[in-house]
Symmetry: C2
DNA sequence: CGGGATCCACAATGATACTG
DNA sequence: CAGTATCATTGTGGATCCCG
């Protein structure tokens, strides 16, 4: 590796790893999209996302709140009623969600194409 | 959630999760960038990425090869000499790496800003 | 209803050694 | 050189129960 590239290289990696930390993992984006698509209550979000468990959802919501992507509001004390909402800031992840969605789709095609070619040989 | 949104919603989630699967995790992007920046040999890549171990690197390289992002070429049999290279197809991830890098940078600023505000109160 | 606490299985990782 | 094998340790996720 060229030494002069080193600093920029590491900064780049670091920035991308930061992003991965915030929205990476299996559930972050699904949770955000669930709330974005209208779900506000814990159990609604829970049931809207296949296979997620309440403990994991709880952790993810906390993580997202700490990273300013969603807000948590106590609507009523008794019975306890909480509402989650995405923050205006959260909309900025659209800039990465869109490319990721498109790339994911085209990549799937690419992999399928490869499999067909392998079968031929 | 509105039922009519359901199908598109799940497709969107699925595509993004596919992307996360391919380039997600701690090391995928660093490995790609390392090769991109000129490292071709296993041990070069290994030492260029802080904290990665040879076992993890080995797994990541296999994963990336399976997903067509890098190529693995046996240059000489004895002594064994392998060369890794990024594929032309791999360049397509630039479309997501760039946005992720930019978002990561601006997000760090956002978090720092939040911390300063919290200290005031 | 919105989670937290606990227990447990299994996956991931580090360290070290070893091989073709 | 380019990895694998093995073992100990840690982390993470699911299942279940519980509480305000």
């Amino acid at each position: 590796m060229v030494p002069s590239d080193d600093k920029r290289f590491r900064e780049k990696i670091s920035a991308i790893q930061d992003t991965m930390f915030v929205i990476g993992g299996k559930w972050k984006i699904p949770v955000i999209l669930s709330i974005y698509s209208g779900n506000k209550r814990f159990n609604d979000i829970l049931t809207s996302i296949p296979k997620i468990t309440n403990r994991v959802l709880s952790k993810e919501l906390k993580h997202l709140e700490e990273n300013l992507l969603i807000s948590r509001t106590i609507v009523s004390d008794y019975p306890v009623k909480i509402e989650y909402a995405i923050t205006p800031y959260c909309l900025s992840i659209d800039k990465i969600a869109k490319p990721m969605e498109e790339w994911g789709k085209s990549h799937k095609k690419e992999i399928i194409k490869r499999q067909i070619n392998n079968q031929k040989t």
